[in-house]
Symmetry: C2
Subunit: 330 residues, 2 copies
């Protein structure tokens, strides 16, 4: 008996891809000796999180008709790399909480978070190294460049805390490095795995940068104007900590009375401080200005996305997922 | 006019290789924006040091008749990786000095040493990634495994500080991970670059492990029995800090009066402490025992080295260099 095998590529739904990504991380056991080193790694990687970066790699690979197996190792590597940066960032930012649980540095100590983080970085490279040799170098180069830029972004973020002369452009460059490049790299690595055309690989990367910027501005926006019940975090945390967000910098740029802003940010009592700053933000129309900037970035992203050489029907899923991500309330 | 080109491989002298390694690091400029991130990297990588690991890569590549250009990028990567581990180790061990200068964590601060260290780790991988594709995967796998084991070694070293039940075997395994694997990897990567036979690559690695162990025991030995003028560091620093070295552990294993050792290590006054501990070490014949162990490791290493399939005359240089390294007074 003869079977005729027809090979055609399947577009998975976002939900199917999300399930495949979850499976990638299910039941992974990083525990080995010395336990003091690997227990915090197991703890960090078992906390879940959105697994956004591997999902984006899968979506891009699927969009370009690739085999998901070709990108699964680098996708895991990207997620582990992302979690490594969180371990070290939490030390530097003195953040006791991560995803509602004690951060590694807080639960154990600084030395543990340093060394377990370093080891996670190695594990990330171990996964990337398993990539098919034909696409290994392009994948590694993307990974290296991204890792370096994420470090640079964290440095700028720390510099900004001590510097009162930050422009909106400085800020956009910082969030490009700290947040957007990893989102863009996740998409690019998926496209590389699918052997997409060079021009399309570049386009999905540029698209990812714009989506990443919009994603971060949406985060800034929700901190001030979100619904705490939906957002899942208390509103106004950035205001309480005097964080130099897009909103903060825009307010200082637009106000005619910086003294009044200084005074508001100097208030001790938390609720009074948040209310006073929000009142100034509203007077300066910061809410609409930020929304317009997000829409502007999103529209630019869409223009690039539309020019990617794939059938419109195959693009709709990623379009709808990213729309939801950028317009998200949570 | 016709030139007849004869290609034959040249064995470089150790001195020539040392000069070539120096050139690899001359005038390298890592400075770029953000300056706060790259200045400590430039500082760390300009301090010099022995550049032992790249030299070993060059020696192994040369021994197997390879082209040094094939290993130069990974050799630089290994040295930068080594320096990255020093940055992070100095935070964890609270060491204010490195090569007679302020350590990065001490000159700047912990956050700087964490993030500049992370960036050096990325830069190390950038160099390794430049390796010829034909040998990239083997090189990367060696690099990854080594990096992970060095982290494990540092963890064991930290564990030992809090643990009073360390056997000599535990100690040998710790220094294998913390010190020996990187020396062995440097040799292995050189052999891979020269496309040596699999059996010889394994042999030079095993040889490197034994040499690395002997090298570390020699370090322990010199701290107690060296000549401070030649050694370049004050004698007895390990004793003053109650460091669990081979000598310390052997003394506790051999003594019939641990109480007397506890008392000696509890002495406050530095000179009195060093003298008292050294007196016990001498009574227990620790000097000769340690020397015999070094010779035993060295002889085992030599046995492996002799079985490597290269002409005896080509081996003599590495043999003489490593003999000097292990028998070194400095």
């Amino acid at each position: 008996m003869l079977y005729l095998q027809v090979i055609f590529y399947t577009m998975y739904t976002t939900k199917e891809l999300q399930e495949k990504v979850s499976k990638l991380f299910e039941n992974r056991n990083y525990l080995t000796e010395p336990n003091e080193l690997y227990e915090p790694i197991q703890y960090s990687l078992s906390q879940g999180g959105k697994r956004l970066r591997p999902l984006l790699s899968y979506m891009a690979c699927s969009l370009f008709g690739g085999d998901l197996n070709e990108v699964s190792n680098s996708a895991v590597g990207l997620e582990i790399f992302h979690n490594f940066t969180l371990l070290h960032d939490d030390i530097m930012d003195k953040s006791p909480l991560r995803r509602g649980m004690a951060s590694v540095y807080h639960k154990w100590d600084t030395n543990t978070a340093i060394l377990s983080g370093d080891t996670m970085f190695v594990i990330a490279y171990e996964y990337v190294t398993k990539t098919n040799p034909g696409i290994l170098i392009d994948t590694l180069k993307t990974f290296n460049q991204t890792a370096r830029e994420v470090c640079e972004g964290q440095q700028y973020d720390m510099n900004f805390e001590k510097n009162n002369d930050i422009s909106i452009d400085n800020y956009m460059e910082m969030i490009r490095l700290k947040t957007a490049v990893l989102i863009a790299a996740a998409l690019k690595i998926g496209a590389i795995a699918a052997k997409a055309a060079k021009a399309d690989i570049d386009k999905i990367y540029d698209f990812g940068i714009l989506i990443g910027l919009a994603f971060q501005l949406r985060d800034d926006y929700l901190d001030a104007f979100g619904d705490s019940k939906i957002f899942g975090k208390p509103i106004g945390n950035d205001i309480v900590t005097n964080k130099k967000t897009y909103l903060y910098l825009m307010a200082y740029q637009l106000t005619e009375n910086t003294h009044k802003l200084d005074e508001a940010f100097a208030i001790d009592e938390v609720k009074e401080k948040v209310d006073t700053v929000l009142k100034i933000y509203n007077d300066l129309d910061i809410k609409n200005i930020t929304q317009r900037k997000i829409v502007e970035l999103y529209d630019k992203a869409l223009l690039i996305f539309n020019s990617i050489n794939r059938p419109q029907k195959d693009k709709e899923q990623m379009y709808s997922f990213l729309h939801q991500l950028v317009k998200r309330e949570v």
